[in-house]
């Protein structure tokens, strides 16, 4: 893919990766005062603080520290957890499966909920149904994920007993059942964005000449929607999902914590609460790189699929 806009995207993503590495390295140095003291808290003994300073190499020149961080990170070594004494990478790998499963389930559920809602709204722009579909998700903007999760747990787990109240594991089927409510919470939190964008994309696709031509040929309305509008709106749908990946992943932090899912998100929240710096730093780096990667892939897919973008002007996100 030698398109100029694709190359520009790639270059920009590489710069962003470099900056993310620098920023995550500097995390520890932006704290006023002694970082080792910040990690251990005010009750720690001076000996413990200086031992940690030694271990983290905080007394060496900043540049040497950075090169050290970089060379280790490139080899997949993100340091050792202060709390658990295990390498951050192995902690992360051990906790990855539930998070990947949750993100996948949420993404699938988001698509399943978004497509019919957007289609319903786009069918008659300006109608009452369109208004309802556009207004109701807007209300979801103020729905806190943690509270929605608590309500779902009370209703569907405690009262009705349809789903477990939390946790993950056992057989794959049990895990899947445990993911239904968490995936619902995450999906609902990004639904306002995805429905809105897909609706616009569908209305635009419906305005296209080939749709008018199909209608003029007497193709039945639902068939027009399915064959012509849907297919052309599918690309924007994927793009919307890709670009919202960061928001989706951010919400899994909260959702995993509330549903006690032993994933990467819960690990990050716990590490923050227990002031386990290397874990926070390592996870922040990996998650940020994944988000940049997803966004880049999404942009490249979009550029690859839409010939107009290949040479043309930058489109606004």
């Amino acid at each position: 893919m030698a398109a100029p806009s694709a190359r520009r995207r790639l270059a920009r993503a590489l710069v962003a990766v470099a900056l993310v590495v620098v920023v995550t390295f500097l995390f520890i140095h932006i704290v006023p005062g002694d970082p080792a003291r910040a990690i251990l808290g005010p009750q720690a003994s001076p000996d413990a603080v200086s031992a940690l300073r030694d271990r983290l190499g905080l007394d060496r020149p900043l540049l040497a520290q950075f090169l050290d961080y970089l060379s280790h990170a490139v080899r997949g070594d993100l340091g050792t957890s202060v709390a658990e004494g295990v390498s951050v990478t192995s902690l992360m790998v051990g906790r990855a499966a539930p998070t990947v499963a949750l993100v996948l389930c949420s993404a699938i559920l988001t698509v399943v909920l978004t497509v019919p809602l957007a289609a319903l709204a786009a069918r008659r722009p300006g109608s009452l149904v369109d208004h309802a579909v556009r207004t109701v998700p807007l209300l979801g903007l103020g729905l806190p994920a943690f509270w929605f999760a608590l309500v779902l747990i009370q209703v569907f787990a405690v009262r009705l007993g349809w789903f477990p109240a939390g946790g993950y594991g056992g057989s794959p089927l049990q895990s899947l059942r445990a993911l239904v409510l968490p995936a619902l919470v995450t999906a609902v939190s990004i639904l306002p964005f995805t429905v809105q964008s897909l609706r616009v994309a569908m209305i635009e696709a419906a305005d296209a000449d080939f749709v008018a031509a199909a209608r003029a040929r007497g193709v039945p309305p639902w068939r027009v929607l399915r064959r012509y509008v849907f297919r052309n709106a599918a690309v924007p749908a994927v793009v919307v999902l890709g670009l919202n990946m960061g928001w989706l992943v951010g919400n899994t932090l909260i959702v995993e914590k509330v549903f006690a899912i032993p994933g990467v998100g819960a690990l990050l929240v716990d590490a923050t609460l227990s002031r386990d710096f290397p874990v926070v730093q390592g996870l922040a780096l990996v998650i940020a790189l994944l988000v940049i990667g997803t966004n880049l892939a999404t942009e490249l897919v979009r550029i690859g699929l839409d010939p107009r973008l290949r040479h043309g002007k930058e489109s606004l996100r």
Partner: protein, 281 residues
């Protein structure tokens, strides 16, 4: 993709009366909430006053929502928390609204490397999921409101930058700007006197919707124990407090959560209605 496109999405003129209805409803709900928040303390006990002889009381004429585990009036605490969250939501956005708008105007106006630098920095900020960024900052700055202010200032400017950048870009194609440039006015004069007055409405209406995001994240951080610290009443902290009594007194968890939803819904509808008005004007 952000709440910007969500809020800035226009409707057809045929549906204008109904849109105004939403706007009126949103304003009415907000006014009622404001009245309750401001007048509540006159009729209700202090939100921090404990009464250990009257804990976890059911709703009564004295305490319409009952009392919590320390005998504090739940309604008084929820109202005080709504007030705090609204204040945080609005004031935390002032800095990113200004910095983001200025950076966006600058990026569009100067173009070239300035535009690229601002764009890459925005990409980096957005590479960190919102909650991750806020959590990491809370990690360093410690629990408390100041972390929330710093985190919002560090993250939220990106939306305003993108909105204003796009607006200034399109304004620069307009005849009135071309005329001002042609008349020989200085760049800063054209930008401040001609362009900015015509593009400031979009970031402002977006900010109304953005307040919802700040309120929800303040509540979330406080729920997790890294936001507002007790005994200050904050909606997320109230949910977290009430959670252990959810089987006995579900109201302790339900009321503050519903308050977030209500405030959020009213503000989201207000922002949406306002942006449609702006688009139609």
């Amino acid at each position: 993709m952000s709440a910007a496109t969500l809020a800035a999405e226009g409707g057809s003129s045929r549906t204008a009366p109904r849109l105004n209805g939403t706007l009126v409803a949103a304003i009415a709900v907000l006014l009622v909430l404001l009245a309750a928040v401001l007048a509540g303390p006159r009729w209700l006990p202090s939100p921090t006053e404990q009464d250990l002889g009257n804990i976890l009381a059911p709703p009564s004429s004295v305490s319409p929502l009952g009392t919590d585990q320390l005998g504090r009036d739940v309604l008084a605490r929820v109202l005080a928390a709504i007030r705090l969250d609204l204040v945080v939501g609005v004031t935390a956005l002032l800095v990113p609204l200004v910095t983001g708008s200025l950076l966006g105007a600058l990026a569009a106006w100067r173009g070239g490397w300035v535009d690229e630098v601002v764009g890459v920095v925005a990409d980096v900020v957005q590479a960190f999921p919102y909650y991750l960024f806020i959590l990491v900052l809370a990690f360093f700055l410690g629990a408390g409101l100041s972390s929330i202010y710093v985190a919002v200032a560090a993250v939220a400017w990106v939306s305003y930058m993108r909105i204003v950048r796009a607006e200034v870009h399109s304004a620069m194609q307009q005849d009135y700007v071309q005329a001002a440039v042609g008349a020989g006015f200085s760049g800063s004069r054209v930008l401040l006197r001609h362009v900015l007055p015509n593009v400031f409405k979009q970031p402002l209406t977006y900010a109304v919707t953005d307040v919802v995001v700040v309120i929800v994240s303040t509540a979330t951080l406080s729920y997790l124990g890294v936001g507002v610290t007790p005994p200050t009443p904050e909606l997320g902290a109230l949910v977290s407090d009430g959670q252990q009594f959810v089987t006995v007194r579900p109201l302790l968890t339900v009321a503050p959560g519903l308050a977030v939803v209500l405030v959020g819904a009213a503000l989201a509808l207000l922002g949406n209605g306002l942006s449609r008005q702006v688009d139609e004007a």
